[in-house]
Amino acid sequence: MTSEQATVAAASRRSRRLPPEVNILLVLIGIALVFEILGWIFAGQSFLMNTQRLRIIILQVSVIGIIAVGVTQVIITGGVDLSSGSVVGMTAMIAASFAQSSTWARPVYPGLTDLPFIIPIAIGLGIGLLAGIINGWLIAQTKIPPFIATLGMMVSARGIAKWYTKGSPISGLTDQFNFIGTSIWPVVVFLLVALIFHIALRYTRYGKFTYAIGANMQAARVSGINIERHLIKVYAVAGLLAGLAGIVTAARAQTAQSGMGVTYELDAIAAAVIGGTSLTGGIGRITGTVIGAIILGVMISGFTFLRVDAYYQEIIKGIIIVAAVVIDVYRQKKRKV
């Protein structure tokens, strides 16, 4: 075999390889099966054969999942978004203040009660979008690291959430508004968002440019991509989705509190990373992130099911996040050799 034939053979072998999501899916199935077995051993019942439990898992995953879809895109560009949890809190508060019913004793804006549900949603999305645009603008124009820009937004957005009502929660939301938090609507929203951005990343110019920037920003610039404009877009999308998550969170709880969404940004980053998104940029898929989010949800549910102490749950979650990044680093290294 000549060397050329050899490379051809090697390459066709490579192209027949399964998409990376399959590995992550196998991990998910493996984890679920482990809980299933442990369930029979320690709790004497099935983990998976329980529709109530499965429903709770996907509902829990939805909010984190919506955020993670945005964060995945940010990480693909080589950045990070730490602000999404705080933006959830901020948008939950602001959206809820425009969604109050007139039957509630003391609304935030007494003159603005019983508004059609579309208004608080539009305002919430607008606030999230604005936060994202500010993040993107800071990163693109001032060249400060995404870590710092979004850290600033994380602190400030949380501050706004608290300042908005001086800390008191906002309740008495209209049924119309609460509707999107009921039943499995949050899951529908999540899957719709995932589908839209899966298509956007794979089949649109927006997606191609996002990967190109993450793979090599200098080369992308020389190839004519307006890096600044594109980064603002990507962070704006992440902000918009965090805003959406804030609306869903408030609707689910039928109330808004300034502490909503604390550490959600970390769960979202974890979901993306577990799903195969590389923190060095250029690699990542929405399908992987969706599975990554479900893995997190299954683990939390599984530990609760096994009555593992909440403290241990957090410890184990931390270890799994680090392990996912270690695997990523290892994969990168292997690729370079």
Binding site: A11, S15, A215, N216, G224, I225, G282
Partner: protein
């Protein structure tokens, strides 16, 4: 001699070393990098108390040899003798401890530490408690500076120093190791005339103390001023060593370029059209200035010059990567303002950058993704959606035309050879149908076959009326392919040569003016 390294170290330490005539003696050194034979059976000798210049074009092998002497590279074959005894240097630290110090072009000092701390790093004098004795360190530094006639405060922070003064610190640091051999890589490239004088005074002083200095330079006048001997390298081979008093400038240039131009360049005379790109008084603050030239349709304008002469910067500025501070660019007679690559592309320009890895390839992505990225800006999209079928067909066709060796376009570009990567990047630009094509080192680091194919392609493009600018360090390439050669030196255009009059000697003269 086949003594073990530890025995050698013991012999050296005992001081029972014969006074060898040569401080350094390098024999039959061979060093190969993937795809490039950097040094082929090279020799080099450095006498005690002399300044020995290394001369040669870019890529001649000087830097590789020097890095072997400094312990950065390990040779594949050959012997290095230090004061007559064979030695294998395993690391820069190893070299330093054996008395060979190198002063790099890009200075390696820690900006937020003081001069004294930088010099004595890893060897700080300690007091009885094991803490660094700053007073003693200050005195040691002051003494060292006095010996070298350097007027600097040992307590000042390195980041506050000028480039020249940082260089002085580097030299002092090298001397502080009691080095016998000092390697200087183009030390004057960032110095003013007065600073150069001071540097030369220090070098002469060191020479009189018996230190041997390896001095790499592109500047002919420096060679006559400071060097006792010089060695010439060309294409990784050793050409010869002479005393600098024995030769003329022309002799040296001949030694440096003395190879025949082979007929591997399929240059065709094609009809030359109107001026497409016209550059007037283009300047980029403190990088290059007053660059003016025209390129016509079908013409290949070669840009020659040494590394650091500003060639690539001019290309980057025209393409909007680093917008010009002053000057104008006109396309087809109409003045244009280009401040981003995006604008340049929509004006019909394309720019194959010098560094494939840093500014070319999207290494972790596949061939298709690499090839389509520039053209997606203007074509092959509908409502933001990529027309997958059309773009894939176009890329498929392009990769066949360019003969990219790959089984499919889903192959990651990092798995391709340098030549094939370069073809993919050229394909990226050809898909945009450029009217002006700027090529920066289009064939660097790629094998001969791919090289010839790229040359053929460039000729073809010129025939189709594309205005081509080709920057290259490879003299035969510039001379073989260009209709006209523009030569640059230290950020200025030093001359234009027509195809008929361009010779290696003339280009070298202009490039080292």
């Amino acid at each position: 001699m086949t003594l073990s390294p530890s025995t050698m170290a013991a012999v050296r330490a005992s001081g029972a070393v014969p006074q060898a005539e040569y401080l350094l003696n390098v024999e039959n050194i061979r060093k190969e990098f993937p795809g490039v034979l950097a040094l082929d059976d090279v020799q080099f000798r450095l006498k005690r108390g002399t300044v020995h210049a290394l001369m040669g074009e870019n890529g001649a092998g000087k830097s590789t040899l020097m890095k072997i002497l400094a312990g950065i590279y390990i040779p594949d074959q050959g012997e290095v003798y230090l004061k007559g005894l064979p030695i294998r240097l395993k690391s820069p630290l190893d070299a330093l401890e054996n008395g060979i110090a190198m002063i790099h072009q890009e200075l390696n000092l820690m900006p937020f530490m003081t001069v004294a701390e930088n010099i004595w790093i890893r060897r700080e004098p300690k007091n009885a408690l094991g803490f660094v004795d700053h007073g003693k360190m200050y005195d040691m530094t002051a003494a060292l500076f006095q010996r070298l006639n350097i007027k600097l405060d040992p307590e000042s922070q390195v980041r506050d120093l000028s480039v020249a003064n940082r260089q002085m610190v580097e030299i002092a640091k090298a001397v502080s190791y009691e080095s016998d051999v000092l390697i200087m890589d183009e030390p004057t490239s960032a110095l003013t005339e007065r600073e150069v004088e001071h540097l030369f005074a220090i070098i002469r002083d060191l020479r009189s103390q018996g230190i041997g200095i390896v001095y790499i330079t592109h500047k002919m006048n420096e060679l006559f001023e400071i060097a006792d001997e010089f060695s010439v390298f060309r294409d990784g081979r050793y050409i010869g060593t002479h005393a600098s008093t024995d030769v003329t400038r022309d002799d040296i240039i001949k030694m440096m370029v003395g190879r025949e131009i082979t007929q591997m360049f399929p240059k065709e005379t094609v009809p030359i059209g109107d001026v497409v790109l016209s550059v007037k008084d283009l300047s980029l603050k403190s990088v290059f200035r007053d660059v003016s030239f025209d390129v016509r349709a079908g013409e290949i304008l070669g840009i020659a010059g040494l590394v650091g002469s500003g060639r690539s910067n001019v290309a980057e500025t025209i393409f909007g990567v680093t917008p010009a501070t002053t000057g104008t660019v006109a396309i087809n007679g109409k003045e244009v303002k280009v401040t981003t690559p995006n604008q340049a592309i929509s004006l019909g320009m394309a720019f194959l950058t010098e560094d494939r890895k840093d500014t070319g390839c999207l290494l972790i992505l596949d061939i298709l993704e690499n090839m389509q990225i520039a053209v997606l800006q203007d074509r092959f999209t509908k409502f933001g959606f990529v027309q997958e079928k059309q773009i894939t067909d176009a890329c498929e066709k392009m990769s066949q035309t360019l003969r990219v060796k790959t089984p499919n376009l889903e192959e990651k570009i990092e798995n391709l050879s340098g030549g094939n990567q370069q073809k993919v990047l050229i394909g990226r630009w050809l898909l945009t149908n450029p009217k002006i094509l700027i090529l920066d080192e289009p064939t660097r680091g790629i094998d001969v076959g791919a090289k010839a194919e790229i040359h053929r392609l460039v000729t073809q493009l010129a025939r189709q009326g594309v205005a081509v600018i080709m920057i290259s360090s490879e003299m035969p390439e510039v001379l073989g392919m260009s209709d006209r050669v523009m030569v640059m030196h230290e950020g200025r255009v030093t001359g234009f040569l027509d195809r008929a009059e361009a010779t290696q000697v003339k280009v070298m003269e202009l490039a080292s003016k």
